[in-house]
Amino acid sequence: MIKNRIIAICLLLPWGWVQSSEPVESADGWSLSVSCAGCHGTFGKSFSSIPSINGLDEEEFIRKLSEFKEGVRPASVMDRIARGFNERDFEKMAIYFARQKRNSR
């Protein structure tokens, strides 16, 4: 009964509403990750020479960020940024970016 009503309401929703509901999936990761968009683009999708980070594998994301933080990965900006986060933050952000669509990279 309630399911029918929900579907009925859904029929009235525009596409954008549904598509844009994605970020709420991981609330805590969302609030940490959106700051990355200033350089890497909304949802981590870049329109420039700065690398896209949407759809990155979680382990790869955490490994790279940890290497930046430890100063063993060559960088002039990301090492400074990575030092502002802890391992737990990296994990939350990794989950967030892994969930962003890879096909939009």
Binding site: I2, K3, I7, L13, W15, V24, H40, R80, I81, R83
Partner: protein
């Protein structure tokens, strides 16, 4: 509706929509739809409008901005130096309207009634809000420097709000004869874009070196030190030897008055005549903030740095250059980051949830020439113990780093942050 979460609702809707079953939104005029009104369509206001919609599209967002287009300050020094066209700085609100369903009202906010929770517009109807965001950027303290008022800025540009003023300074540089003196007067802290005056000096030097090599640039500073000073000084020595002279406040003291027609600066200890004069006046929060009673004696808006809610008026949030977000600098990037944190705080508050742990990042790139840039960046977070924003990490470009890579990043950053804000 027990046991029926918003998330399940979204999932179910996602399924239904995947079948291509969708129609038009009908909730817009419903009285129980939460209303967010945003005053100001710069990096702060535009980003906030977009992100409120991204988090919860059922909220009605109205963006009040009198100008139909926006010229970004980032990139404007490139226009002044003749490297880029003014049109390269131009953005509008069409995508925010079309893609996110934000109501963009081309009108000016005249006053706010915080009790009735309404905004009065110059031409249009009174707007009701549940949450108001004030993001007016800066205004100038026209009474701070004797002789330099708004009228004088038609002759002596500030070029600290991009657009016609940017073009005016460009034209004056083009008209200046070789061997002329360009003088830049940066204000004391705090002000919009701390490294901006020094990037401006660098890029003007780039133009003069190529076109009017006997000319000189003098920076008469109201400060004794400035952002990324060692990096700028190193770059000036390498790229423009003997061309840029920086004079600290210690050397000249306060500016006593300006001779507008003769382009003369009278300081405590001396007199300087310029061929092109660029005065960046002391600043304060945009006029509407003061009118609504959101500013303190400093002229800026005190806020709860976790939610960006004004400490002087409930349900009104202030973001961007107008707010006191120390230790964050006043920059487009800061405004963009603050907008997202504030958007989440507002939506959480509307939906009865508590604020989550956020991170705010700022990076300011400065060009010294089109292939040479430096940066300062930092990560900030809200400290529950100190009840304020604290710096988690910060740093500048290493002295031996590749400046051309930073220039590449600077271009990429502009592209992505403008898309994150306006597209």
């Amino acid at each position: 509706m027990t046991g029926f979460s918003r998330r399940n609702f979204i999932k179910l809707c996602g399924g239904a929509s995947a079948l291509g079953l969708y129609g038009c939104a009908t909730t817009k005029t419903s009285p129980d739809v939460a209303k967010v009104v945003v005053i100001g369509g710069g990096f702060g206001g535009a980003t906030l409008s977009k992100y409120v919609k991204l988090i919860d599209a059922s909220i009605h967002v109205t963006l009040v901005e009198p100008n139909p287009v926006f010229h970004t300050c980032p990139g404007s020094n490139n226009v002044i130096a003749g490297i880029a066209d003014l049109r390269s700085l131009l953005w509008n609100y069409d995508t925010l309207k079309r893609k996110y369903g934000i109501e963009v009202v081309a009108d000016e906010a005249m006053d706010v009634d915080p009790i009735q929770k309404t905004v009065r517009l110059k031409n249009g109807p009174v707007l009701k809000y549940d949450r108001l965001i004030v993001a007016p950027g800066i205004d100038f303290r026209w009474d701070a420097i004797e002789g330099y008022d708004q009228q004088a800025s038609a002759l002596i540009p500030h070029a600290w709000k991009a657009g016609g003023q940017t073009q005016l300074l460009r034209s004056q540089l083009e008209a200046m004869p070789d061997g002329g003196v360009v003088m830049i007067l940066p204000p004391a802290n705090p002000f919009r874009c701390p490294p901006g005056p020094y990037e401006r000096a660098s890029l003007i030097a780039y133009y003069l070196k190529n076109h009017k090599p006997r000319s000189k640039i003098i920076i008469l500073d109201a400060k004794t030190k400035f952002s990324k000073q060692a990096l700028f000084m190193q770059g000036w020595k390498d790229l423009y030897p003997g061309m840029i002279e920086w004079i600290s406040w210690v050397g000249e003291g306060d500016i006593e008055r300006i001779g507008v027609k003769s382009r003369t600066v009278f300081t405590e200890f001396g007199t300087h005549k310029a061929d092109v004069l660029n005065i960046i006046p002391p600043q304060k929060a945009g006029a509407i903030a003061e009118k609504v009673g959101l500013t303190d004696q400093s002229g800026w808006c005190p806020i709860d740095q976790n939610t960006f809610e004004s400490t002087l008026a409930p349900d009104i949030h202030v973001i961007g250059d107008a707010c006191i977000a120390t230790p964050m600098p006043k920059s487009g990037f800061s405004a963009n980051a603050q907008a997202k944190t504030c958007a989440l705080a507002i939506v959480n508050s509307i939906n009865g949830k508590s604020q989550e742990q956020a991170a705010l990042i700022n990076t300011c790139y400065s060009y010294l020439n089109p292939d040479y840039a430096i940066s300062v960046s930092a990560v900030y977070g809200y400290s529950n113990q100190e009840r304020k924003l604290t710096t988690r990490s910060s740093g500048v470009t290493p002295m031996d780093a590749d400046r051309s890579i930073e220039a590449k990043y600077a271009r990429g950053w502009y592209r992505n942050i403008t898309a994150d804000t306006f597209l």
